[in-house]
Symmetry: C2
Subunit: 254 residues, 2 copies
Amino acid sequence: MSQSLDRALTLLSGLAREPKTLDQLAEEIGVHKSTVLRLLRTLETHHFVRREGQRYYRLGSALFDLAQQALEDRDVRRTAQSALAGLNARTGHTVHLASYEDGEVVYIDKFEGRHSVRMYSRIGKRAPLHCTAVGKVLVAAMTPEKQADVVSRIDFFVRTPNTITTPEAYEKELALVADRGYAVDNAEHEDFIHCVAAPVRGPGGVVLAAASVSVPKVLLDYDGLMALVPELIAATEEASVHSGWTGNRKGKLE
Amino acid sequence: MSQSLDRALTLLSGLAREPKTLDQLAEEIGVHKSTVLRLLRTLETHHFVRREGQRYYRLGSALFDLAQQALEDRDVRRTAQSALAGLNARTGHTVHLASYEDGEVVYIDKFEGRHSVRMYSRIGKRAPLHCTAVGKVLVAAMTPEKQADVVSRIDFFVRTPNTITTPEAYEKELALVADRGYAVDNAEHEDFIHCVAAPVRGPGGVVLAAASVSVPKVLLDYDGLMALVPELIAATEEASVHSGWTGNRKGKLE
DNA sequence: ACCTCGGTTGCGTATGTTGCAACGGACGTT
DNA sequence: AACGTCCGTTGCAACATACGCAACCGAGGT
């Protein structure tokens, strides 16, 4: 582990929220300001941060640049785009595309809902596997060994009264998801929001990502949410075809 | 300057192009692979890189995350969005939104053209000030002192036969831009592409960013490009209003 | 079963990084 | 105008840290 690098990366996260001054940053990571200055200078020459005026530092353009390239890497994003945009347009609800990364879910695309009540999320944001619909879809699609390994590492912390809190209950849920071909998050992550998610497949049927529709409960009750499932499935199948999926239409995972 | 940080950031840029192995990376920055391993591990714990399989490293999701937040910072992006999307839809050409950063132009948003011949660019990409339409607009809008300082630092390297190569010619061009309220890049950056750009203003008339339309010469000759100017101006004025501009309609800069 | 290729580990050393303290410029105040 | 404060900046010496080395290990391929 590299200490200075570690500190520098922590600085970047700190700057994400808002521009800060040297001293603020120094205090935040508990080191002398001259140390921070040197780190910032290096970050600056690589355009990871930029100075605003003469006293504030904020994130720089290298971030956009790298992120954009990293996103382009993920082909699903491009191939699924039109199908998900359509789903978003038809339902008016927020649509997410997410993939599995290292014990968590990462949102790789988002289509904002049209309603005033919106859920807070963002491309690049991470979320837990055990209380999100996309998480369930992604884990359900893994091979049994991988799945067992991943599940064993999950911390089943409680987010809402509905959150699944035991590996046993989760595995039962996964079986259900695999069987039905879609997953539900019944306000298990956020109290006021529920979601449905389904897999986006690529060549050979492998699951590349999961797409979800998220709806505030005040807008649609549980039955209303379930009524969206056919539309969701239609969209994810369309996205799958664009992503190279040539399989049949039976909904099962694996 | 922090050596390890510097190396780590260089690694990230190296990974942007494509996933690489430890040895490749080590060779690229000329250090021992164990050093690279340690840096990567630190980057990994911060989600700046992720491992693909057991041998490839690629960029991680923290980049998306930070980049997204950094972009949200730039309010112009949000406020100008609809006007520029409209411009893009009406003309079918590529539209860019760019701001000045540290002696260069940075693209902060992009709307892809509908034609098969496209220009290569990307959000986060940087471009020179002296041979782009957006660069001219941004520099022309600076205060005389700042402008003089910035111009004095420009390296007028040649990109095409049309590239402006002297400070004198550039300053003359800037005066013209300020007077007309828009700038032209007559294939000064890329041989086959020409652009027009105009400022997006905020409260008090300050120039927040510049928007441009880029067109391959095979699609539209110079006169055709100039015919787009009114539409461009209409769009940037709409974007300006959304960004808090309350000024009048006279086109002059400053 | 061997070989190669790439990732991983432990260790001693030199080097890079750190904290300190003093400096200097920009503002704001009296 | 002169003073005081607030920050960013610099040079230096001490030390911790990150470095390269070399040996190890595990997976694939022949």
